[in-house]
């Protein structure tokens, strides 16, 4: 089952998002700020992180960067924000696994995006598994573009 970590400081919105994701068959873990979410990330090792931007302790962009840098397995990120300056965040972070989704979020689009990320990650995971047997290509999966995927 695909695991999703939700970082959102608004308790109500956290609940709305988690219920919707559970309805669609995902296993959901929720945290109220970036710091707690980063800790939870290492505990539950989710496939996808959905994060707000403005949060106490650690903001969503810092969290996303930390997660992308620290994870040893493919992970997708959805930045859920009402901030207009976040629209190009995927390009800014130079990562196609980072998607921006504007608030108020569209429930159906969110599921479409989660599914797209899940597929992408599955492909990458496969790619990594194929390569892991070849020690001369001792790169981590971030280098996937180098061997043409």
């Amino acid at each position: 089952m695909t695991r999703i970590l939700v970082a959102e400081d608004d308790r109500h919105l956290q609940r709305v998002i988690s219920l919707w994701l559970e309805r669609n068959g995902y296993q959901v873990h929720c945290r109220g700020d970036g710091q707690a979410a980063l800790q939870a990330f290492h505990e539950v090792s989710p496939d996808i992180l959905i994060t707000d931007v403005n949060m106490p302790e650690m903001d969503g962009v810092t969290l996303a960067k930390a997660v992308l840098a620290q994870s040893d397995r493919p992970v997708g990120v959805i930045i859920l924000s009402c901030r207009v300056d976040m629209i190009g965040i995927g390009v800014e972070l130079g990562d196609q696994r980072v998607i921006h989704h504007a608030k108020p979020f569209s429930p159906s689009r969110l599921i479409e995006e989660v599914e797209a990320l899940r597929k992408e990650i599955a492909d990458q995971g496969q790619c990594r598994a194929e390569v892991s047997g070849q020690s001369q290509y001792g790169r981590n999966w971030h280098g996937r573009n180098l061997w043409g995927h």
């Binding site: 609940r15 919707w20 559970e22 309805r23 959901v28 979020f105 569209s106 429930p107 159906s108 689009r109």
Partner: protein, 535 residues
């Protein structure tokens, strides 16, 4: 509690329920167990195990609890009889996590509430009565909690629905600005709505209730289009028409034989008529399996979005009508000019078509092609100011007559000048009789000073004039006409355009044979009369 707590998840309500049970436990000194009835195989509650089975599942055969026996034998736990109560437990609807509300069961384990005297001197019967009373209170508290949780879940669902509605309305409104045709709008709205409604397919019927377009989503059958057609031709057609007539969105349930006949997996239909003012534009129909009927919220969302679509589609129709009307008015005007001179019948239309073909060969933009079409049709409008005796005169013209006929491009220009939307056409009309070497009229422009659209219209105009009969000569063949034009390339015509036009004519023989129908295959007129070509 420990053994069964795994059944309580971290989902909505899960952790709060656990908190509630924990408070009751510490307050009363009891153990409370909880088990979900749904899910297979159900866990045997530790409370039952300890109390009714005396710690051993083997005691089941001799246990007096029929529910426990059935629960171990069956895959799914049966409901507690009667009233959801047993001696030590009660059944409660737990907050839903999935689509359907799950029932769960709370079991209490304990002898007496904390603080009760050790030796109260109560009889067994009195104790049983007290126990019953406490259990009732706990049950009430938990039931109340569960009800509130359900309420919360409903509220969350409404919030989700509102978010979806808001987003689709934003998207449809945004899209309506950039879309030119109602059909594009229908496709877009159907696609977005069928995702939001989790519809297995969506189709659009026009106002006569004919199948129009289908967006199959999670298509399970091989031929969704055919299934949709069958649906509309079957008995459901009348039902759909009735809804369209009523003007308000409604849900329809298709009976099983009907659905099977149409090979439909969608037994629940949501029919949303598109109405703008008094006019019916058709209806959108969304389908879901009979197990997932549409709700009022679904209906409101579809109505709101399709309402917006109807308004936009209606405006687009009005705009298209208006555009068509101006085309028709211009057509009437051009026909009036052509009627003045029987030899030029259809000339303006053909010039428009040849101009567009030449424009396409030059790869001009779509808007410029439109402009060429209008320019071609209107280039001779000024002939309205040319005397009939000059226009239809057989043979050559006198100096005075020729000077008179040369006024027509300027008259065309003056006639069209007040029409704001035709501003881009004016240059092409005014200068279509200029010559490459500057010997043309009215302004004597040379070479590339002559606007490109005017040179294009001129090329088309001369070709059609040469290949048509005139009052003063018969028509030339295509080859002869082209060779005449090539001879005057560089003096009268833009040489590059003439060269390109020869290719355009060759291609048109295959693409548009009707453009050649009136042209003689062999020359009927041996020589060009004095006075040159009168386009």
């Amino acid at each position: 509690m420990e053994e069964t707590s795994g059944a309580i998840s971290d989902g909505p309500g899960g952790s709060s329920l656990r908190q509630l049970l924990g408070s009751i436990e510490s307050l009363l000194g009891w153990s409370l167990g909880q088990v979900r009835v749904a899910g297979s195989p159900p866990q045997l509650p530790s409370v039952c195990l300890e109390h009714c089975l005396k710690g051993s599942p083997e005691g089941l055969a001799s246990a007096g609890c029929p529910w426990l026996r059935r629960m171990v034998q069956a895959e799914e736990a049966p409901p507690l009889p009667p009233g959801g109560r047993c001696e030590r437990g009660f059944q409660v609807h737990l907050p839903s996590r999935g689509r359907r509300h799950e029932a769960g069961r709370i079991f209490a384990l304990g002898d007496r509430p904390r603080g009760w005297p050790e030796e109260p001197g109560f009889s067994d019967q009195e104790l049983a009565g007290l126990w019953e009373g406490v259990l009732n209170s706990v049950e009430e508290v938990v039931q109340d909690f569960a009800r509130r949780e359900e309420e919360n879940v409903r509220l969350v669902e409404e919030v989700l629905q509102s978010y979806e509605q808001l987003n689709i309305l934003f998207e449809v409104t945004k899209a309506s600005v950039s879309m030119a045709r109602p059909e594009e709008m229908y496709d877009f709205a159907l696609d977005r709505l069928s995702t939001a409604l989790r519809a297995h397919y969506a189709c659009f019927y026009n106002s006569e209730c004919h199948f129009d377009r289908t967006i199959p989503r999670f298509v399970q059958q091989a031929e969704p289009y055919r299934a949709c057609r069958d649906l509309i031709s079957g008995d459901a057609r009348e039902a759909i028409q009735e809804v369209v007539g009523s003007g308000a969105a409604q849900t329809l349930e298709i009976s099983k034989p009907q659905a099977e006949q149409a090979q439909l997996h969608c037994g629940s239909l949501l029919v949303v008529p598109l109405v703008s003012g008094q006019e019916s534009l058709g209806a959108a129909v969304f389908g879901r399996p009979p197990t997932e009927p549409f709700h009022t919220g679904d209906r409101s969302m579809a109505e709101a979005v399709m309402g917006q679509v109807a308004i936009t589609a209606h405006k687009m129709r009005l705009f298209q009508d208006l555009q068509q009307m101006s085309f028709d008015v211009v057509g009437a005007l051009v026909n009036a000019i052509d009627a003045k001179d029987k030899y030029t019948c259809g000339h303006s239309d053909r010039v428009a078509r040849w101009s567009v073909k030449l424009g396409q060969a030059l790869q001009v933009m779509e808007e410029d092609l439109q402009m060429l079409a209008w320019g071609g049709r209107l280039h001779d409008v000024g002939k309205i100011g040319v005397r009939d005796d000059v226009l239809g005169k057989p043979g050559g013209l006198t100096e005075e007559e020729f000077a008179h006929i040369k006024k027509h491009p300027v008259i065309s220009y003056e006639v069209l000048k007040p029409i704001h939307r035709l501003a881009h056409v004016l240059k092409g009309v005014r200068h279509h009789h200029e010559a490459w070497d500057g010997s043309g009229y009215p302004d004597g422009l040379t070479g590339e000073e002559i606007p490109l659209e005017a040179r294009i219209i001129q090329t088309a105009d001369v070709f059609d004039a040469l290949t048509s009969s005139r009052s003063y000569r018969s028509a030339y063949s295509v080859e002869k006409a082209l060779s005449i034009m090539q001879e005057s390339a560089g003096t009268r015509h833009d040489p590059n355009l003439v060269q390109l036009f020869v290719q355009v004519v060759q291609r048109a023989r295959v693409e548009s044979p009707d453009l050649f129908e009136h042209i003689p295959r062999h020359d009927e007129a041996p020589a060009l009369p004095k006075g040159g070509v009168r386009g």
